[in-house]
């Protein structure tokens, strides 16, 4: 993990002091709300439906046990004892007092954390694969490059007032677990024909009201040129991106308007001016940062799958959990464990302070004191011994966090929706609960198998409904919460935007509509191993639409 040095600590501490002064000036009236709002947003502080909300950056989703305990402490001391993990690997606190925010930022600074650039028209928290540095299928650990991007983009003077917000994701696994195709810039570590590792650069992806899958800007970018190339992209966007219409201000609109080839030409022209200049990261600084992500020294550990197999045969819950929530590690004898924040009665992605502390303790006891927040709003504890799996499962079960839900219909991504958000049209969270209840039997969920169901409370699409096998979008229909269903969205190499199935439903009818879709899938799949996405691709959406809208 990256460790703050004195420069980093001085920076976040001074930033906190600066915000304390700004808050005092706002409370005294020296700053108007119009003057203060961009300042608080640049520190992650929104005014939401019920109160102020603070979004704290978790860079590329990586946390230590102490940091997660610190976040639990903030939830307990300054909020109502819980936090909400987001698709961009951040955490949000919903009941923050403006007067206490400087104290929270001080607390964050003491944890080597901050809330800078979690809002505003700037480069946001860079996101990555939650298994980065621990996956079995990884070309190279991408976290060092994420950290380099974080440091480059933090308070970058040229990119503090972009036309709109800007999101970058980096992934290095054989499977893209960071949704790089739905980011303003997606970086995929790849290998050239000569064996050199570099970046495949995607640009212009995003969701919202104009969902677009990112297009390839560069097939192979040598790693040493990362910062100059990013700088060139951002410069083109900063100069040519639209500022006259908020709905057309994202880079995806610019790329589409110019065409990818013309956009590439513009980037290359800009890049020629700065390539190999001082903008490139010096080798010694690159080495210093990457060295902080050296693999942990893991002692040899026995591979005990036969013992685990015997336990799985005895314990259905353990069997489900191992199947869904345990994933391969690069070192034999080790695994990565996903802690599901999805269960009946729990808003997706929410965790209480005591749960955060207990999960931190597991990482400290059984892992390498390291945790990851995931795109799908769960928590990963990497580097766990296989021999400890049943003990870890037992500990999680005591916390009621041992659901084997990863990748199942219950593993819904959901935005806070109208229960918290000032922008939402409809509530996501009660609907997530209703759908979970509809498929309340664990055996049924396992039988359905891998599927992604995401819910957004408005067209801003924070719940990533566009990128789900089954997407649900909350709309306001004559003052009543209604929900559209989309089918066929995907992340990964073949990222795609889901298509609207038909007219919207009132909330009460949505779970049955989803059940009808699932019934068609189960009836028509070629075998139990054909996943929902494959059946949908094979059959097309019409048969699902007919089932959903048939009148009985």
């Amino acid at each position: 993990m990256y460790k703050y040095d004195k420069l980093d600590r001085d920076f976040v501490t001074s930033r906190s002091a600066q915000f304390r002064d700004q808050v005092n000036r706002r409370l005294s009236g020296e700053l108007s709300e119009d003057e203060f709002k961009p300042l608080r947003l640049q520190n992650g502080l929104y005014l939401q439906l019920h109160a102020y909300m603070l979004r704290v950056a978790i860079p590329y989703g990586v946390l230590s046990g102490a940091q997660l305990r610190g976040l639990a402490g903030i939830a307990r001391d300054f909020d109502r004892g819980f936090g909400h993990f987001t698709t961009r690997q951040n955490i949000q606190f919903n009941w923050i007092k403006l007067v206490e925010t400087p104290d929270i930022l001080d607390r964050l600074a003491s944890l080597d954390m901050h809330a800078i650039q979690t809002s505003g028209n700037c480069i946001r928290n860079v996101t990555s694969d939650p298994f980065a540095g621990a996956a079995a299928d990884e070309l190279e650990d991408p976290r060092g490059w994420c950290e380099i991007i974080r440091q480059w983009s933090t308070l970058h003077p040229e990119f503090a007032f972009l036309p709109r917000k800007f999101k970058i994701a980096v992934s290095a696994g054989a499977v893209d677990r960071a949704a790089t195709g739905f980011h303003d810039i997606g970086l995929r570590l790849t290998k050239s024909i000569s064996g050199e590792i570099g970046f495949r650069v995607l640009v212009g992806g995003g969701q919202g009201r104009t969902p677009r899958v990112a297009q390839q800007l560069s097939r192979f970018l040598p790693k040493r040129h990362l910062l100059s190339y990013l700088e060139a992209i951002l410069r083109v966007y900063n100069a040519a991106g639209r500022r006259d219409n908020i709905y057309k201000a994202r880079i995806k609109i610019l790329v589409e308007a110019m065409g990818i080839d013309a956009f590439r030409d513009a980037v290359n022209n800009e890049w020629l001016l700065i390539k190999d200049s001082a903008i490139e990261l010096p080798q010694h600084e690159q080495d210093r940062i990457l060295a902080q992500f050296s693999p942990p020294a893991l002692p040899e550990s026995a591979d005990n799958w036969s013992a685990i197999k015997a336990k799985r045969a005895d314990d259905r819950g353990f069997d489900d959990w191992v199947r869904r929530n345990v994933s391969p590690h690069y070192q034999p004898g080790y695994v990565n464990v996903s802690v599901s924040l999805k269960s009946i009665g729990r808003p997706p992605g929410d965790a209480s302070a005591s749960e955060m502390e207990a999960i931190a303790a597991l990482a400290e006891t059984y892992g390498q004191d390291e945790l990851r927040v995931t795109y799908s709003q769960n928590i990963v504890i990497p580097h766990m011994r296989q021999t400890d799996l049943f003990a870890i499962y037992t500990a999680l079960a005591k916390l009621q966090l041992a659901g084997g839900e990863n990748g199942l219909i219950s593993d819904m991504i959901a935005c806070p929706g109208l229960d918290y958000c000032n922008l939402a049209n409809a509530r996501s969270l009660p609907l997530a609960e209703m759908i979970f209840q509809k498929f309340g039997d664990a055996k049924t969920r396992q039988d359905i198998g891998p599927i992604r169901l995401n819910i957004s409370g408005c067209i801003n699409a924070c719940g990533h409904h566009h990128a789900a096998d089954i997407g649900i979008l909350g709309v306001n229909k004559k003052g009543v919460e209604n929900f559209q269903i989309t089918l066929g969205g995907k992340t990964g190499e073949d990222a795609a935007v889901g298509r609207i199935l038909g007219p919207s439903f009132v909330e009460a009818d949505v779970p049955d509509a989803i059940a009808r879709i699932i019934d068609v899938y189960k009836a028509k799949r070629l075998s139990a191993s054909e996943e929902f996405a494959d059946t949908l691709a094979r059959l097309g959406p019409a048969i699902f639409k007919d089932a959903v809208y048939e009148t009985v």
């Binding site: 709300e33 005014l47 019920h50 307990r76 007067v99």
Partner: protein, 124 residues
């Protein structure tokens, strides 16, 4: 001083969002219907409503209903409170059986979400 009918200032934060139907109705119909006036307290963000006695209250059932005659004084009070840095994000809600009972305003009036968040087992 903020125009309290200008919801673009008092509502969305950062992201793009057209006014919802109920919000549009709030603007177009607020000239004729009685209104509620609501805001957030500046220092802690709490939702408050202006009561008949022109004091800010945290419970929706204390919200005053301001008719054409009363609204001028009420709006003046709201503007004064904003200028005095007591409240922010002021807006009015027409009592028209639509905007005032919209899902948004019902949830806001609850003072919290309609679901139950996870409970901290070790509160201080």
């Amino acid at each position: 001083m903020t125009n309290i009918l200008d919801r673009s200032k008092s509502q969305p934060e950062s992201k793009s969002q057209p006014q919802s139907q109920s919000q549009s109705q709030a603007q177009s119909e607020s000239q004729s219907a009685d209104i509620l006036i609501t805001a957030n307290r500046l220092d802690d963000g709490s939702v408050v409503w202006l009561a008949d006695d022109l004091q800010w209250r945290q419970e929706r059932h204390h919200a005053g209903h301001f008719d054409k005659v009363a609204r001028r004084r009420a709006l003046a009070k709201a503007s004064h409170s904003e200028a005095a840095n007591e409240v922010t994000a002021i807006y009015e809600i027409p009592i028209d059986g639509k905007a005032d009972v919209s899902a948004r305003e019902r949830i806001r009036a609850l003072g919290g979400p309609s679901i139950v968040p996870p409970k901290d087992l070790n509160p201080t």
